[in-house]
């Protein structure tokens, strides 16, 4: 008993010849089907090249097109010829010209000899398969598909929609349960001949001719009807990408293929010399087999699919430029934005960096220069401190910064003096955690030595800007983690918000703050606000800041008083 191979070939004839010779040398009988669309000259040359192989025949040719009945027809004709010509064949293996046997042919023969009645064919009901090009699964069997999906997409889609609207529903022939699966199978003579000699074959054919992609359904369905023992898997390793076309294997997949436990792989790039050299040798020359690890191949291709569909969150580059709302992550990592903290604490940045280990920048969007951490003038990825470069595209600047510094938590100060181009972006970004002490911008004004009329003007402007920003943060589109406190509220109990921040950023949970940053001197700040009011300006973002100076002294806050208080 031996194995017969049906090979469907349409190009790369030199490789097909090589593989056919390999099968033949290993003891398999072969029937080759060459696409009718191949030019006569090329076909003749191919035929002549293989004329010295005794156990090889060429079958009648059909014109083959992807996804159509012609492919089934080709395999039927070739199988019939194979079964008739080579009576010793027990299993028939359907392969293509770009398939490559990964294991010695003898191993396949032995393997099948040990399982004389088993049909190897992937076959699952439509409900159970995840793959479906064009969103058609159950409908593959209930609609008609007379138009080519590749060549006449508009007609194809139009006709599908029309049938849907007319509620067309074809009847599946009696007794058949539609099944789908890979078109590369290995069937026993018994099963295959039953299919081919079935008195109802005409009826089934009429039905399957109008099914969508019949080569993935015809045998898969009929085998369920006739076979006694089905092992629902393909002996051919074949991975499909999201367009429904098979992945190609190249020279650099050699190690991966060695670890596959499949007998045959497809499809192989015709110029992959190393693969052909490595696998098309006799058993003696074959390399030592590595421990099979087929899962690894799966992972490689699953990752490729994910890269194509989902991409890398927060990356904007030449071949990934999502539309608004399709970013699948507007930035690549969580980051924190602080408004008012640097104004209220003398040493906020060094303190936060010490407690949490994060990179704490100054005002990245300051109008004077980009204030990177530790006074640096440039940063990861070659970002400079030029405000002109930053402002030319503020959003790119921020996403670049976060992307470039992946693995380090980035924090920066923000305020109404800064470039506000970025405020919608950070508000909408779920990765941003934004802490705002409203009205804290007034503290530097309070400490400044400017004329009061100037201060009053500036205060009005800054309040306007901050109030716009707060509106954005409170809008329904804001998706960041947002905490807004007024300065009055904040100075009453600064430890709690600080602890929250540290808990969020810090590497270890539950680090109790033992040392807090130093509050600036706010003595007289209440009076300062009152003066603004007296000048006709209404500082509404500060909350109810007390007139008396009882709250603040220029001291380092110590945690205890807040805790011990009874």
């Amino acid at each position: 008993m031996t194995v017969g191979v049906v090979m469907l070939v349409h190009n790369a004839f030199e490789r097909a010849e090589q593989v056919a010779r390999h099968w033949a040398a290993g003891g398999a009988d072969i029937v080759i089907h060459v696409d009718q669309r191949v030019k006569a000259k090329a076909f003749k040359a191919f035929e002549r090249a293989l004329s010295d192989v005794p156990n090889l025949r060429f079958s009648k040719r059909h014109s083959c097109e992807w996804g159509t009945w012609s492919l089934v027809e080709a395999s039927q004709t070739a199988s019939e010829l194979l079964l008739k010509t080579f009576p010793k064949v027990r299993h028939v293996y359907l392969a293509s010209g770009s398939c490559l046997p990964l294991r010695p042919v003898q191993e396949l023969i032995d393997y099948l000899a040990a399982r004389p009645n088993v049909d190897f064919i992937e076959s699952a009901t439509t409900e159970d398969v995840p793959w479906a090009v064009g969103g058609l699964d159950r409908e593959r069997f209930t609609l008609r598909f007379p138009f080519s999906w590749r060549k006449h997409r508009i007609l194809f889609d139009g006709y599908v929609n029309l049938q849907r609207r007319l509620k067309v529903k074809r009847k599946v022939p009696k007794g058949l349960v539609p099944h789908l699966g890979s078109q590369w199978w290995c069937l026993t003579r018994k099963t295959l001949s039953t299919i081919l000699e079935d008195p109802d074959r005409k009826e089934f054919e009429t039905y399957f001719k109008r099914v969508w992609i019949p080569d993935e359904a015809y045998y898969q369905t009929l085998v369920r009807y006739y076979s006694s023992t089905i092992e629902s898997r393909s002996l051919t390793l074949s991975k499909f990408d999201f367009q429904g076309k098979p992945h190609t294997f190249y020279d650099d997949h050699l190690q991966l293929l060695r670890r596959s436990d499949c007998f045959v792989a497809r499809k192989i790039w015709p110029h992959a010399n190393r693969l052909y050299d490595a696998f098309l040798t006799d058993a003696a020359g074959a390399m030592k087999r590595a421990e099979p690890n087929p899962g690894k191949i799966d992972r490689v291709f699953t990752k490729a699919l994910d890269r194509r569909i989902n991409g890398r969150a927060g990356l904007f580059m030449q071949s990934r430029y999502p539309r608004d709302g399709w970013e699948k992550g507007m930035s690549s990592a969580p980051y924190s934005v602080f408004q008012g903290y640097a104004e209220l604490f003398e040493d906020f940045a060094p303190w936060l960096s010490k407690v949490t280990g994060a990179k704490v920048h100054g005002h990245l969007f300051s109008p004077d220069r980009v204030e990177y951490v530790d006074g640096q003038t440039s940063y990861h990825g070659g970002l400079t401190d030029s405000t002109a470069l930053r402002d030319a595209n503020a959003q790119s600047f921020l996403t670049n910064l976060i992307w470039n510094a992946r693995g380090e938590r980035q924090c920066f100060q923000f305020g109404p003096n800064d470039n506000q181009d970025i405020n919608w972006f950070i508000a909408k970004d779920p990765n941003a955690s934004i802490s705002v002490i409203t009205g804290a911008w007034a503290v530097p004004l309070f400490h400044s030595n400017l004329n009061f009329s100037v201060i009053r003007k500036m205060a009005a402007k800054l309040q306007q800007v901050e109030s716009n920003y707060i509106d954005i943060l409170k809008s329904p589109y804001a998706k960041g983690k947002i905490r807004i406190t007024s300065i009055a509220e904040f100075v009453e109990a600064p430890m709690n918000p600080l602890q929250l921040i540290v808990d969020e950023i810090g590497p270890h949970k539950l680090t109790r703050i033992t040392e807090a940053p130093k509050l600036v001197d706010l003595t007289g700040f209440g009076q300062f606000l009152q003066n603004l009011k007296n000048q006709g300006m209404h500082p509404h973002l500060m909350g109810d800041f007390p007139m008396s100076d009882t709250v603040q002294k220029n001291t380092r806050i110590v945690r205890k008083p807040y805790l011990v208080k009874k």
Binding site: H271, I309, W403
Partner: protein
């Protein structure tokens, strides 16, 4: 609006094609071996002027990558570039003394030659200081890529320009003919590129890199464009509109995914910044034949007087395409 824009693009494309057709008279053949081009050959199209020192390595690099034929337009070289190229068995070369600027920086000339010899071929349009790197380019040839693009029904492939520079001053290490320029200029900026979309042409407009941070601090908007689409399955109806930054029809410019995923893409490593650069900048400034009145070269010339160092502590040293992929400059897409 959609319709009128489509029509305007169509008119623009026709206009560029007519222009290319008229400019064909400016080209005189020096060596025309295009009859040796076979059906599936991959062809390079390039213009050059006085680049003799670069040519040996350029030809070697692309022959090894799997390019089958080279088509050059020589813009009046006097350093032996033309003669050298004319001797190469896989090169066809035309020469012209006409204005580079008036042919829209060589685009018209190449559009003509491409429509004539590039039809139905994969064409790679690069300058002689641009070196194409793509996913798996160390283990797979260019043909593997174009075969995959064909199978995936993709007609154009993006390869952003990546400026490479040496550590130290440009003049410190002289470049010798035949040498791999990236032995000297092995550094690049990894993460300071900014992107905008051009709605009319549909292409992305990318700026940044060392040139933006060194020479265009005052006028970031004039910094050179880094986006390029050099690899195209050519059809005689196509035209490049400005350098290889954009093409028409518009669909060829959509080399990026808009729904969060990634298309496959590569890089053009740009070996412009070698010791040859100073002389080149001075010459080009004198000829005034470059884009926007050679504003770019003026900026270089002014900055170069102080012999600046392009290298900074955040510069990355080039290793391979995988590094570029991890840094997010290129992508494998779903090619695995």
């Amino acid at each position: 609006m959609g319709f009128s824009q489509t029509y305007r693009r169509r008119l623009a494309r026709k206009r560029w094609r007519i222009r290319a057709f008229r400019k064909r008279r400016e080209l005189k053949p020096v060596a025309n071996r295009t009859k040796h081009i076979k059906r599936d050959d991959i062809i390079i199209f390039s213009t050059l002027r006085n680049e003799r020192v670069r040519l040996s390595y350029f030809l070697k690099y692309y022959r090894e990558l799997g390019v089958d034929h080279f088509v050059f337009v020589d813009n009046d070289s006097d350093d032996g570039s033309r003669e050298f190229l004319a001797e190469q068995p896989d090169v066809s070369i035309w020469t012209t003394t006409h204005s580079y600027k008036k042919s829209r920086f060589g685009v018209d000339w190449l559009n003509w030659l491409q429509s004539k010899y590039g039809h139905n071929h994969w064409t790679l349009t690069v300058d002689v200081d641009e070196f194409f790197v793509f996913p798996f380019s160390d283990t797979r040839s260019l043909r593997a890529l174009t075969d995959w693009l064909d199978a995936s029904e993709i007609r154009s492939f993006s390869a952003m320009l990546l400026d490479m520079y040496p550590k130290g001053k440009l003049n410190d290490q002289p470049y010798r003919s035949g040498q791999n320029p990236f032995e000297i200029a092995s550094w690049f900026d990894s993460g300071n590129y900014v992107i905008r979309k051009n709605d009319f042409f549909g292409n992305l407009w990318i700026q940044g890199g060392p040139r933006a941070r060194m020479f265009f601090l005052d006028s970031p908007d004039s910094a050179p464009a880094m986006n390029k689409i050099p690899l195209v399955k050519w059809n005689r109806k196509y035209v490049y509109t400005s350098s290889t930054h954009a093409l028409l029809p518009r669909s060829l410019n959509v080399v990026y995914d808009e729904w969060g995923g990634e298309f496959a893409s590569g890089c053009l490593l740009h070996a412009k910044f070698l010791d040859t650069f100073g002389a080149k900048a001075a010459e080009e400034l004198k000829r005034g034949q470059h884009y926007a009145n050679s504003k770019e070269y003026k900026a270089y010339h002014d900055a170069l007087k102080d012999e600046p160092e392009m290298w900074c502590k955040w510069s990355e040293k080039y290793i391979n395409w995988r590094q570029l992929e991890i840094l997010g400059l290129i992508s494998k897409g779903n090619w695995a």
